[in-house]
Symmetry: C3
Subunit: 638 residues, 3 copies
């Protein structure tokens, strides 16, 4: 399921249109997206003229390409992203009519594969008639008390965040319901975006109830601002893991990937290389993604963004990026059975994110210097852990709290990392206790648990995690620059950022790090499991200073059991491991500047390697891999 956005707009010719679908067919692309502009269908007299889009759907049929139509109700001509919520009931009703017209009309095409409910939900709720009415209703169901049961006043509230999250899901469900009124069978999909900021607004488990697949936009120059260009593969890997977890049992694929040069649009101008195209697609597939759709096949010709982003050149000829897609597609087709059966290999490592943490951080740094001087961290700490595992060839899960299965009876071999999750709802304590007591390992860093879900400081209102963590914090002290932590059992010191916390341990705790008589890190058994607590931003420091020390420490303290990993830390490399019916697939990307000859440590020594894909002459020989800078290698182990 690899493809691209066909951008349809008036002025284009039939010949061009056919050329685009022909190009896709010839280059191994099997699916496309089309933005279904109401403005180009709904005439001023109220009538509908679908001909411009019919032409594309027919060409799709002719060349055996599946179409995902993205709803795009009428908006200002300068509104390039479209609206996410209507401004009033009239616009909502008009949207309903638009959906009905489209669903009924395009049902006729065999090429129709799915509807994308709205382009990139997230953000966009305005203070308008519609929102105010919905809020009034919601407030009735979700009143905010002035005081909490413990007597403390609620001085700032997260209601706005809660309501926005509710509305994003409400809107998607409403659209899905509208479609289902006219078509019970068509696939439904949605592409969230800018995941490293918007994650806190989504409710993937709920979305699963009305979607048939989950997707996302991972548009490097728009969405990877927290990463340097040579970290975009890492960013794609993290983004993919968040979606994989979000999708649950649904399939997922990357709905939007940058296809070509951005000239004046986007945040960080660039033209993706063919190597990056390969890296991104394989990384998605290595995260159990069913494929990827590039934005876009052809560039739009009118207005802002015209001439940008495309896979085809201005003469509608394939660029080297298309050739790269074609080669990758060829590899997959040659091994169709294998690629049909892949599942991500479970590492047992789970980086959990708790949306209340992000909401709290957002509100508590609002408009202050803390918003820009490094104290606002978003997911950076979590991503530092992700990187630390990744550069050992291990890909942890990244999961919303709600997506983790807390209902098992045995968590031995399972690790949860709470990386600077500053706000933990009180009710989560017993859930975490249950997890650890049944054998789970919990690692907490930074200000994890500093607040509850109502912006009360848990250190003061009663630290409910005390029993589990084996202690409490006496003080957090700001550290001006990166601080080196000596941690018991680790030869290399691990840098921390932001704060150091002084732990008052309970008697049963082990001390992992001290500074004078202050205890900076500890561990504690709890039931069959244990908790490791380093109240400083180790992940953030790993992002800033390099992840080797954190990686070294994590390899020591985490009992990670994986079929494959790098035999040593590999700066700039990543590996994704999948299980097939009869073996394993490992996908390795080299973003370092050097050619690497490295050894893969495998659990099962009997497995024999064979090379499925390499784009710079990389090779595998037994467990030894040769991989060039920018190269992606796919190895099959049986």
């Amino acid at each position: 399921m690899i493809g691209a956005q066909v951008f349809v707009e008036p002025g284009q010719t039939s010949e061009e249109t056919e050329q685009w679908f022909k190009m896709m067919k010839e280059n191994g692309m099997t699916i496309c997206r089309i933005r279904m502009f109401e403005s180009y269908m709904h005439k001023q007299d109220g009538s509908w003229d679908f001909s411009l889009f019919d032409r594309a759907f027919k060409m799709a049929e002719k060349y055996d390409i599946k179409v995902m139509g993205t709803f795009f109700p009428a908006t200002d001509k300068t509104d390039i992203g479209g609206w996410k919520f209507p401004k009033d009931n009239e616009q909502l009703n008009s949207f309903s009519e638009y959906i009905k017209q489209l669903v009924l009309h395009f049902k006729q095409f065999k090429s129709l594969y799915a509807w994308v409910l709205i382009n990139e939900p997230g953000g966009g709720l305005q203070n308008n008639e519609f929102a105010r009415e919905m809020r009034l209703e919601w407030n009735k169901q979700n009143p905010q008390p002035e005081y909490l049961p413990n007597g403390y006043p609620v001085l700032v509230d997260l209601q706005e965040y809660r309501f926005k999250r509710y509305m994003t899901s409400w809107m998607l469900k409403w659209i899905a319901d509208e479609v289902r009124k006219s078509d019970q069978n068509v696939n439904l999909h949605v592409n969230n975006h800018a995941i490293f900021s918007n994650f806190q607004e989504y409710d993937f488990p709920y979305w699963r109830t009305f979607l048939t697949s989950l997707g996302g936009s991972a548009h490097a120059s728009w969405h990877f601002g927290q990463f340097k260009r040579d970290e975009y593969a890492l960013a794609m890997s993290a983004n993919s893991e968040i979606l994989l977890s979000g999708a649950g049992n649904l399939p997922w694929f990357m709905t939007e990937l940058q296809g070509g040069n951005n000239t004046f649009s986007g945040m960080n101008a660039m033209c993706p290389t063919k190597e990056e195209i390969i890296q991104w697609l394989w990384t998605v597939i290595g995260s159990e993604g069913k494929g990827g759709i590039f934005w876009s096949l052809n560039p739009r010709a009118s207005g802002i963004e015209s001439g940008e982003w495309a896979l085809l050149d201005f003469q509608n000829q394939p660029t080297d990026r298309v050739q790269a897609i074609s080669e990758l597609s060829h590899c997959i087709n040659e091994n169709a059975k294998l690629f049909g059966s892949l599942k991500k290999v479970e590492t047992g490592v789970n980086l959990l994110y708790i949306r209340e943490s992000q909401w709290t951080e957002d509100i508590i740094t609002g408009g202050l210097k803390a918003a820009t001087d490094g104290r606002k961290t978003e997911l950076s700490d979590l991503l530092g852990y992700f990187q630390s595992f990744s550069e050992m060839g291990i890909t942890p899960n990244i999961k919303a709290w709600e997506e983790f299965d807390f209902n098992k009876n045995d968590y031995r071999g399972t690790i949860i990392i709470l990386a600077n999750q500053i706000a933990i709802p009180n009710a989560y304590t017993s859930v975490l206790e249950n997890f650890v007591s049944k054998g789970g390992q919990l690692i907490a860093d930074g200000l994890t648990g500093y607040y509850d879900e109502n912006v009360h400081n848990s250190m003061l209102t009663g630290f409910s995690l005390k029993k589990l963590f084996g202690g409490e914090i006496s003080e957090y002290c700001f550290i001006d620059s990166v601080k080196q932590f000596s941690l018991v059992g680790c030869n290399e010191s691990v840098p921390g950022y932001g704060w150091k916390g002084f732990i008052k341990p309970m008697p049963q705790s082990l001390i992992l790090s001290k500074e004078g008589d202050k205890i900076l890190a500890s561990s504690a058994k709890f039931g069959k499991g244990e908790v490791i607590w380093v109240p400083s931003l180790l992940g953030t420091a790993a992002r800033k200073e390099g992840s080797k020390p954190l990686s070294t420490w994590l390899m020591k303290v985490c009992k990670v059991q994986v079929p494959f990993q790098f035999s040593a830390f590999q700066k700039g490399l990543l590996m994704k491991t999948l299980k097939s019916d009869d073996g394993y697939l490992t996908i390795i990307v080299n973003k370092s500047k050097e050619k690497k000859v490295l050894v893969i440590t495998k659990q099962d020594s009997k497995l024999i390697s064979s090379l499925l894909f390499a784009n710079f002459g990389g090779a595998v020989s037994g467990s030894q891999l040769t991989i060039h800078p920018e190269e992606t290698i796919v190895v099959y182990w049986k």
Copy 2:
């Protein structure tokens, strides 16, 4: 009078409350502040319930702690700083009722020491009904003419600034009057803040008429943005001097000092060290301050700033910062008689600030590049002089124009420095002439006198200071980078910043510095005194480049007679000197990175030194002092 803010809010237990007062008692703290939230007393049905605060006042009595209650009338729950002015008469009346209720109710407690009229006056005047009505009234008394008597038009005016200053004083007086309606005896106090910006809004001499003591907030991470962290002791010294001068014959103390870590609040995150706590308190005391109150003893638990700023840890146990306070308090108690009789030793050096200068600079750089490219200087030039003396162990006065006593008959030995006081009201000329003619020494730098009090350029409308300064400026020329000035009688060249001015001297003037045929600095006798004029920003350059050259020059040209000073320039050190009934006290702080062995030059060679306090093993032997980095040493000379 050392203490801390006890933060009282619903949800706290009686046990906690008692613990806090007990902790203060045990650690040498004798006074606390309490923010008197109307929101937690005034019930929705209009009734008053003081019980939450009664509990604290009773505990204060039990542990013999004095309480300063800070008025905090009802405001939005997210309004962390409270309002400074009411929005309308209704709110003013409601404030009146609040004051009456509180004053009458809390009168009963022996622990009640004073009311703080409002938290941190300064700024906060909005364009609302209340302000507009007051302004109409004020305008009648303070009309702004379209043309001045000299014929020039008034094109920009400082009325807004004048009105704001008036209102800040009006409001404080109004509150004081409201209190006095119900209590004739209680102490009245106010804590101004962010003094290095807000100084221009205050009228301390007027405030003395209704206050019983003056105070201030010198909250390092909020208010010392113009200083680096290793200059915070210097900043505290300068802040203290401004308050000492402002207080006149009233006692003063530092009402708010940062007590603990700031996490997300504040401008520059940090956790004060115990050494800084010591430095700040001794610096306040060295400026004749009666003590200091930390913000806060305990952290608030709810909302923004929860968990921050505290002296106690999250378990209500004393941190090392509390221990430091305790030691200092112990030292003072052991020498109670001595500390009861201290007066700052007069150095004769007065850095005067003229608020019209700041207003003019503010308006003339408004919204322009000059606001951010270094041309807007605020107090930086003055502070450069302060630092230059300070690093010689001499602490000049910093005085508002109104606070200096211009009514003496003899100013021999007295020095006034006008550091880039760009606007000097015309009426001040004769005052300065009187000062110099009676033996005073006047040093003027930068653009001093460039404007009058109506933003007319005095160079053009008639430079009334010509006779006094012994010349006039022909041109000011911008200098791109720091310029070295060779000054007669000084081996070392002194760096200047911003502008060089070309002086056209009168015949009697001496030339101090030339560039080709341009005269860059001069001096002139006037009556029994003299004026030294270097029209470039020497102080600002000292702040940027180090103060040694300026210090060297000042030591040559100023006839400073002090009982103690460093025998040589000491970068990063400061010394405050107090006179007791029978001797002297010198407080020395070492903010350099090295251990220093230095010699104190004393006027009276018979004085014998003894060590009262040293927190890193520092020592005094005769006139030789050994002081370690971050150490504070207190020496008693008799």
Copy 3:
């Protein structure tokens, strides 16, 4: 025609006023400007009192100084620049009355030379009653279709920009018409400003129909922000060329030049040196300018900008800048006949700017990161070419598209450079084809031709320049850092910035540069001429990295025939060449840090050099020139 602004305001004395005119007379100044404040003439009772200004006009007569009066209708006292458009018809009518009063009254003075229609037109159109009414009317004449004839929708439009440009011209014409109602003979002049941004708003050819001379403000600290200080002479040269071209057959002179120190006003504070004063004036004269007027002779005394900008010092005495003017004026007077007959020597090189390019760039980067990260280029690319020629001693024309004469029959020896002109109206293609086919040489770089005049991407909607350029672009790819282009026939590689374009050449094209199999530059014959195409920002790179490589390449590919040029590239130098009746004048400025001994290559070896002016002892001997840093030298060749 060298002079200065006499700033007239109430409060000044008759003595001062006379002193100013006397000073001008004594120092070779023959013209002044006066801002004609309505506020100081129009009394509150409706009567007019011109006496303040009469005094100045009379003094002008006495000292034989010509006066240019600048209209300055009543505005708020804080509105330092005045308004450019009225807010409603009432204000327009009031402006009409003001013009009538002034024109009729000041007609009586022989000293009246001209009216300046408005100070610095450009910008300033507000969304007010007046503008909305005018827009409604304009819209009728200039409707914007929803779709273009080629079927593509118009998604963003440039109507706002078109309307603003229209209004700026409309307003000037309206004022001119108002003057002509009362005076048929007086000169009319206008000074545009900030030319490097505002160029796109002006319509000089139309202005010629009602002006008698064109002018400009080239106020270094306000308007040369894109240049470093040592490039201000270069900036003055470019600014002058734009005005020379704009003036057509009208005379032009620089209406406003920075005369003195700016303290708090302006963007980049500085005091011009006497050398800069000389450089600027000679550069203007070297661009066929009739002279220059400094802002200002005397400083204003009131309000913002008081004390700033002046040539005279605060005692109304001449500074060394006035002496410099005097010397230059003396040189001109001594050679009056020569200077009366000068015409710029035509180099044949034309840097054309197309205003739609700027409008498109502006709208397409609006509010995006591209506005600040280097992708928005304004004129920087064009200026890089200007500098590259200039440092060879050659001064190209800078012309608006409309100002170039496209109606000739032979363009051999004529070069047009389109430097990153991103939007080219479709109709211009045949015009350019005609130019090249008749022997012209066209050089295009960057994204030239990327859009049409309706923000459609020409690469997609049909690249009409394909035949002319000998190819089309397949892709533009962003380049992260400066890229070195190897260009056929040039030993030195030439740096490019921003983008590289891959050319698909037509068979007849020559390949000038390749990267692998990608073609990065090409040339093509077309009729009798040729087109050279390097689709990367060579000019921008020259501005950033130094212009020597681009200069070297241009010297190779352009067949520039000029009577004089440097024999080798001279970093930091410029030369302007003029033709007199019987010879040539060359003006050379040395902004490098070193003394230079350089050789001038002259076409006519018989010409004999003689030195007319040198301000640091520079000399000419045959073709060899010695010139010191900051020196300006004028050589006469006969």
